[in-house]
Every structure is written in structure tokens, then in C-alpha cells.
Amino acid sequence: MNPRARALRLKAVGDPEILKGVVAGDPGALGELYDRYARDVWRAVRRTLASATDVDDVVHATFLGLPRIAASYDGRASCRNWLCGIAVNLAVRQRRGKQRFQRMIEAFAHTLTGRSPGDPERRASGSEELAVLDRALATLSERKRAVFVLVELEGLSADEAGQSLDIPAATVRTRLFHARRELKSALEREGLQ
């Protein structure tokens, strides 16, 4: 089958079959899967990582690693949540390894460009609240942040998030409980809750 016909055929098939193609090393299948979910995966990773710098690398690693792990897919109609789970798991690992260095860089950057929370210009532009939310999310540990991102923002169930992060669903719920509590406290401190 010529590449064009194959690409058109791939548009019409479901995720499980596409993933079989990925396992078999079909670049067209990998490209099709990328077209379907790269944006969702990118957003999930962006929410997990405090910095946008490494998001592309994590997305790249997620899709490049698929041929090795796609065989483990459970066959659900949509693999979006599964992919987001893999990506967030990778992002957590990356974040853990870089955390100390990142904190130092961010602190340095803040001294150069940061403005006070009460900056009237930012408040007027409407970005102040987002900045506060971003800071609050960044205060969570990487474990709690990953769970919060997957369940609350990406819509995974506790079971799905647990499978992605390789932890029991009960642990997911516990971390989620603490994540919510910490976020609410942080927002209260900032006067947003």
C-alpha cells in the first residue's frame, strides 16, 4: 500500500489498532497518534512542569518510547488518558531530578524579573490571579502535583492515575485530598479563596 493510501486509512482506524502499528514500527501510525494527542499530552506536561523549557523533551520522550510500551495498552477506545498518564509520569521523574537546580534558577529569575504580588499593572491585566494559581500549584510536591493534574485537570479516574503512576488508587485519593487542602491554603494566604 502506498504511503498516502496508508495514511488516509490510518485516519479512520481506532487507537488500539494504531498502537499495534506503533509496536510494529510503522512510522505512519506513530505520526497519526502524535497528530491525535500531542496537544493534550503537551498541556498535561506543561501543567506538571513549573517551567516550559522541558515540556517538548518530555513530549518527545513520551512518543519515542511508545513502540516499547504500546503493547501493554489495555485496548480502550481512546488512549488519550493513558498517554497523558505516561507523559506526566515522565515529567514527574524529570522534575524530581531537576528540582533543586530549578529552584535555584527560578529564584534567580524571580529576582531579575519578578514583580510583587500586589503589582497594580499585573492585577489590572488580569494575569495576577493566574500567577498566584501558578505559584500555588508549584508549591505542591511533584507526587501531589502529578495526581492533581491527572485527576482534576486531565479527567483521569483515580484508578487510571494510579496505573499511570504505579501507585494504588487509594494512594491517589489520599494525595489528591492533601493536594486540594494545600492548594486551598495557599490560595487563602494569597487572598483568593
Binding site: G25, A52, L133
Partner: protein
């Protein structure tokens, strides 16, 4: 009722996660209308979610996503392993350590005399040979009775099959690379495909192509080209006994093999170029496609593959051009035309994207 007093607060999480049954859901919804504590928690949790979702307003850069796509496909085609997400500094340290290890391995290698540069079948190897200088392009799995070797030198990889069946998956070959399976009575050459080869009693008896294109060249027969799903089986041996009543096996679905080494299709390439110059873009695209299919190993296959995409673009078929360019990037990851091909892919992706009103 305060949050500490209500005994049904725990159900809020289950409700939001959809773990409550229909009856319990209805019951909780009625309860929420009456219980201040539960409704406050519900509102608080939903409000937090909504606010945090607002953080996700940041969208990926489309151009960067397209570049990333090409990078993923290129690395997948080259067999590049998924990169470690570790800190780059740590990666640099690992690289330095690896460099030291390579120097040490090189010194040790020179001390060993007569060590063959062969990667033996796991079934046969008793002492592991030293690793090859570059990773294998093909993954070979032999059946229990298979006797085979795999080696790679100077971008040419050979699997020598003496007996039995091997299942082979080969990543797309780059310009200058070759992949051969050598049997006692001939050889198979591929450019990136998945296939099986069986040898019995010193003769090739079966070749099955799962995907891709396989050129089968046997000493005693004309070469054949096998495509997706084709199965070639050796014709039965002619004997003195009278022929059986059953019909002979159906011939394989084959195309005439290209006379590799004799004619590299220069005339076909020139004809395709002429069509492109004449503005007959559809015909040119078809001609370039036919050229790449017939002479995938020729030095002009890379150009022809790219020019197919160019011809389609000039014919106004941008979507098809994008697909052809994508195929070009996958087939020739280090193509001289990679940048231009990536532009075609991006243009096609722009077209496919739904337009916002």
C-alpha cells in the same frame, strides 16, 4: 451543619469521580441542596478545579509541535532510544563516563587477538562477542532450529541464514546503508520492512513479507520483488514420477525485479524530471513515486522521493504533498531536503487543522 459535623462529606469525592451508583447519586444531590457543609465542599473543590484549569490556557506553539513531530518520527526511524529525562548535567556526566569506558574498551579490544566481529545468534553463542561498533538496524528472531549470524560493518548489515526460519524487522535504511539476508542459494535485500525467511536443506523455501518491500535474488531464478502480504514459496522439485492431478501452487504476486547493478533507472528519473519541468505535475509525481518504488537503492531515490512531494504540491494537492513529504522524512531521515520537506508537512497540517469560526 459544619464541615466537621456532616457524615456524608466523604461521598463528595466519590460523586465527583463518578464512583457512586445512580441511587446514591440522586440521594447525594438531594442532600447537597440541604447540607451547607457538603455543598460548600463541593463548590470549593469544583471552584479549585475550574481555577486551575484556567492555568491550562497556555497552548503549545503549533510550529514547535510540528518540528517536534518530525523529530519524533526521525528518531523513531533511526532507532534512537527514548531519551532519559534526567538533568542535562547528569547526561553530560554520563557521556563523559561513557567516553572513558569506550576508550578503555578500545584498549582492551586491541589486546585481544583474533576476536571475530560477529554477533552470534543467542541460541548458538556460548561466549558473547564484543559489541559491534554501531547498533544493528535489524531485529532478528530465529526459530528454535535456526542457524544464523548477524554482523554490521561500514553501514552494511548482513544476516547469514544457514538453516531454519528467522523473523526480521528492519528499520528504514538511510542513504548509504544496506541490509541483506544471505542464504546458501541467494540473498534478500530490504530498505526497512518486516519479513520472514526460511531455509531448508541449503535452499530458500519461503519468504513472507509482513510490510514493506523485499527484493529476493536467488542464483537459479530471476529476481522477484515482494510487497506487503506477499508470500513466496519455492516451486516443487521436478521428479521423474508422473505429475499429480492437483494444480500447481499459485505463483506469488510479484513485480519484475529491478535489474540492480545494471540499470539504476536513470531514464525513468529523467522522464519524471522532464514531466516536472513541463508542468505535468500529477504525472511527474506518479513517475517519481514509481521510480522510488522500483529503484529504492539508487543514489537518486532520495531526490525522487522529495520531488514527488514537490510535484504534488505544485499540482495543488497540498495534503497529499504533506503525506509524501512525511514519508520522505521517515525514509530518509538525514535527507538533504529535510527542511523543505518539513515545511511541506507543516503546510499540510495547517490545512488539516479545523478552522475556528
Amino acid at each position: 451543619m459544619t464541615a466537621r459535623e456532616c457524615s456524608r462529606l466523604w461521598q463528595i469525592d466519590a460523586y465527583r469521580e463518578g464512583r457512586l451508583g445512580a441511587k446514591d447519586e440522586e440521594s447525594l444531590e438531594r442532600h447537597l441542596r440541604a447540607c451547607e457543609a457538603c455543598s460548600a465542599k463541593m463548590e470549593s473543590d469544583e471552584g479549585l478545579r475550574a481555577r486551575m484549569l484556567a492555568l491550562g490556557a497556555e497552548e503549545p506553539n503549533e510550529l514547535a509541535l510540528h518540528r517536534l513531530r518530525a523529530r519524533v518520527l526521525r528518531d523513531a526511524a533511526n532507532g534512537v532510544p527514548a531519551p532519559s529525562s534526567a538533568w542535562r548535567g547528569a547526561a553530560a556526566l554520563v557521556a563523559l563516563t561513557a567516553a572513558c569506558a569506550m576508550v578503555l574498551a578500545l584498549v582492551m579490544h586491541h589486546r585481544e587477538l583474533g576476536t571475530p566481529r560477529l554477533a552470534a545468534s543467542p541460541a548458538r553463542s556460548e561466549a558473547s562477542p564484543p559489541p559491534p561498533a554501531e547498533p544493528f538496524a535489524g531485529t532478528v528472531v530465529g526459530e528454535a532450529d535456526a542457524r544464523w549470524w548477524q554482523r554490521r560493518e561500514q553501514r552494511q548489515e548482513r544476516v547469514e541464514l544457514d538453516e531454519g526460519t528467522v523473523h526480521v524487522h528492519v528499520r528504514p535504511q538511510q542513504a548509504g546503508e544496506r541490509f541483506l539476508v544471505v542464504m546458501p542459494d541467494g540473498e534478500v535485500e530490504v530498505r526497512g520492512t518486516t519479513f520472514d525467511v526460511t531455509v531448508r536443506g541449503g535452499e530458500t523455501t519461503r519468504v513472507r513479507v509482513e510490510s514493506g518491500v523485499v527484493d529476493l535474488r536467488l542464483r537459479t531464478r530471476a529476481g522477484v520483488r515482494l510487497l506487503d502480504g506477499d508470500v513466496w514459496t519455492a516451486p516443487p522439485v521436478v521428479s521423474d514420477s508422473p505429475p499429480k492431478a492437483s494444480p500447481p501452487p499459485a505463483p506469488p504476486r510479484v513485480r519484475p525485479a529491478s535489474p540492480v547493478g545494471v540499470d539504476d533507472g536513470a531514464s525513468s528519473y529523467a522522464a519524471a524530471m522532464q514531466r516536472l519541468r513541463d508542468g505535468r505535475y500529477e504525472e511527474a509525481a506518479a513517475a517519481f513515486h514509481g521510480y522510488v518504488t522500483a529503484w529504492p537503492l539508487s543514489s537518486q531515490a532520495e531526490d525522487a522521493s522529495f520531488l514527488e512531494a514537490v510535484a504534488l504540491a505544485r499540482a495543488g494537492r497540498l495534503d497529499a504533498a504533506g503525506l509524501a513529504a512525511e514519508h520522505h522524512l521517515a525514509s530518509f531521515p538525514r535527507s538533504f531536503h529535510a527542511k523543505e520537506a518539513a515545511v511541506l508537512v507543516e503546510r499540510a497540517a495547517e490545512l488539516r487543522r479545523p478552522q475556528n469560526p
